[in-house]
């Protein structure tokens, strides 16, 4: 008796999980690449040069990028938890 359902399960699980991981990490990396300029340089007269975001990346983008990476870590840890019988 060939268990076709099992194969279909594998196919479905694989595609969904892989695409989820890739989407999340891709999104994170895309967010990290948000700066539009290669970096603004403060004027000589600008004493507050430090305030200028070196990459021109909004803090929101950085935060969400790390949220995305955290989601990646969560998926991976969940996967490992799932396969290790000792955790059940």
């Amino acid at each position: 008796m060939i268990d076709w359902v099992a194969f279909l399960t594998v196919l479905g699980v694989t595609i969904v999980a892989s695409l989820a991981i890739v989407a999340v990490v891709g999104l994170g990396i895309r967010l990290l690449s948000i700066p539009n300029q290669p970096g603004r340089v403060g004027e000589d007269s600008d004493e507050e040069d430090d305030d200028v975001n070196r990459n021109g990346r909004p803090i929101v983008a950085t935060v969400f990028a790390w949220v995305a990476f955290a989601a990646f870590a969560a998926i991976v840890l969940f996967g490992i938890w799932l396969i290790v019988p000792a955790f059940h």
Binding site: V10, S18, V22, N36
Partner: protein, 476 residues
């Protein structure tokens, strides 16, 4: 029996050796990891993975061969397992010699089937289990992995695409690759180390050393984990070369997509008890990701060669296994002869391999140059940015200096003219002095400017290598 266990551990070693490529070929190809770091990481994770689960080991030791005499099956003796494992080792080394990423698992299954056929006849094998758990997964798993990798690659490029032509930061996938390839190594440990555990358990059961319903003894887990880790660390560079650069030119984002698909496919299916080949899954993923990225090409010649290797693996190792099993049937003498034949053929193949050595140092030699251009930009970019800033400053300073000079000259002229007009024919002592001072200052500034332009020149020079590196990259 001890001989068989030692042999099984040797098989485990060649398995690790053979399959390092699955996890680490793509990160090595994209230079996300240095070759040696990569294999060390893979070895550690294989070790860890081997301890995580014994699910697959039980499938192997209990499913494939009817070792239960009461159920119409035939008892498999350690001698036949010996023949099977020897065949698997030899097939593994042959495929390694040709740099083919073939399946270690199928070599093992082939060997087992061949020797069981000779030793115990047709009824010894549960053909249904073979079809359901080995043959069908062998066809389906690479297709699933390939399809997933294709979709994942499309997705990853779609997500990170930029429409404004700015840098898309896809180089960062190198870091992500470290994690995804680690996951592959881990899943390899949970999957492949267990195959040897299954074999050793099978031997122990057939020799009556442990109970048939017992789990895998702990010392078996430890020794298998160690053997596969050491094998992994030794690195099958030939296969890494094939998988990393032979099939398609792997880029970081693509590598990440491929590795993720590989890891997920292996984990998902081994969780359901399929003893599939990590190698076939990894190859399928690499091909799929090659199809998924626009502008990349899949070398179908190499892919075809690998496919032929796959088709041959099961029957060829079965044939070798059968031959050894026939030898073993002769008794003690046969075992000795088989051992000698095995050792001789292995020795010959290693000698042949030595003539044309591929190691950590030259595994990616043909891409080394391109990789250098890729890996340096961080430093170069920083240097270039600094240089650009310096150049801009220099330009600004130079302009200031010019303006100051002009102003000074104008002032001096004005003053001199004023004094002249005021004091008639009297020499304009003070004014002239001032003018001289101004001129001096201007000169000093001019020399400053000279220094600055020199800086700017240097900066431009620093810029250039970056450009040439970029053009090199482009050319490739």
């Amino acid at each position: 029996m001890i001989l068989v266990i030692v042999l099984a551990l040797i098989f485990d070693f060649t398995n690790g050796f053979h399959d390092t490529a699955n996890a680490m070929a793509t990160p090595i190809a994209t230079r996300a990891l240095k070759p040696r770091t990569a294999v060390a990481l893979a070895a550690v994770l294989n070790l860890v993975g081997a301890f995580l689960s014994t699910h697959v080991a039980l499938t192997i030791s209990k499913g494939l061969i009817n070792e239960d005499p009461s159920g119409g099956g035939v008892a498999i003796t350690p001698e036949f397992v010996f023949a099977a494992v020897l065949a698997a080792i030899i097939w593994n080394v042959v495929t390694w010699l040709f740099g083919l990423p073939s399946s270690s698992s199928h070599a093992l299954f082939g060997g087992l089937i061949g020797s069981a056929l000779v030793g115990a006849g047709f009824g010894a094998i549960s053909w249904e289990t073979l079809l359901d758990k080995v043959l069908l997964p062998a066809i389906i798993a690479p297709v699933v992995a390939g399809l997933t990798a294709y979709l994942a690659t499309r997705l990853v490029y779609w997500v990170t695409r930029r429409h404004d032509g700015n840098p898309n930061g896809r180089g960062r996938f190198k870091i992500a690759q470290i994690f995804s390839s680690s996951l592959v190594a881990l899943s390899h440990g949970t999957n492949d180390a267990q195959k040897t555990m299954g074999i050793i358990t099978l031997v122990l059961i057939s020799a009556g050393a442990i109970d048939r319903d017992a789990g895998v003894p702990f010392w078996v887990v430890v020794s298998c984990a160690l053997a596969i880790a050491i094998g992994t660390y030794s690195g099958g560079w030939r296969i890494i070369k094939t998988l990393g650069s032979g099939i398609t030119d792997v880029k970081p984002a693509q590598g990440f997509a491929a590795e993720t698909s590989t890891a997920v496919t292996i984990l998902a299916s081994s969780h359901l008890g399929f003893a599939l080949s990590t190698t076939q899954v990894a190859s399928g993923s690499v091909i799929g990701s090659g199809l998924g990225r626009r502008g990349s090409k899949v070398k179908w010649g190499t892919a075809g060669r690998i496919g032929v290797g796959w088709l041959l693996t099961l029957p060829a190792s079965a044939a070798v296994g059968a031959a050894f099993a026939a030898l073993v049937l002769l008794g003690e003498l046969g075992v000795i002869i088989a051992t000698i034949i095995g050792a001789l053929s292995l020795g010959t193949m290693f000698l042949v391999a030595m003539r044309n050595r591929i190691s950590a140092d030259n595994v990616m030699s043909d891409v080394a140059e391109a990789a250098e251009a890729v890996s340096l930009p961080v430093q170069r970019r920083r240097a270039a940015a600094e240089a650009r800033r310096a150049a801009a400053k220099a330009r600004r300073d130079a302009q200031k200096a010019k303006r100051a000079e002009k102003a000074a000259k104008a002032k001096a002229k004005q003053k001199a003219a004023k004094k002249k007009s005021k004091q008639g024919g009297k020499p304009a002592g003070k004014g002239a002095d001032k003018a001289k001072k101004a001129a001096k200052a201007a000169k000093a500034e001019k020399s400053d400017k000279a220094v600055n332009t020199e800086k700017a020149d240097k900066a431009e020079k620093a810029d250039k290598p970056e450009k040439s590196a970029k053009s090199q990259k482009g050319a490739r």
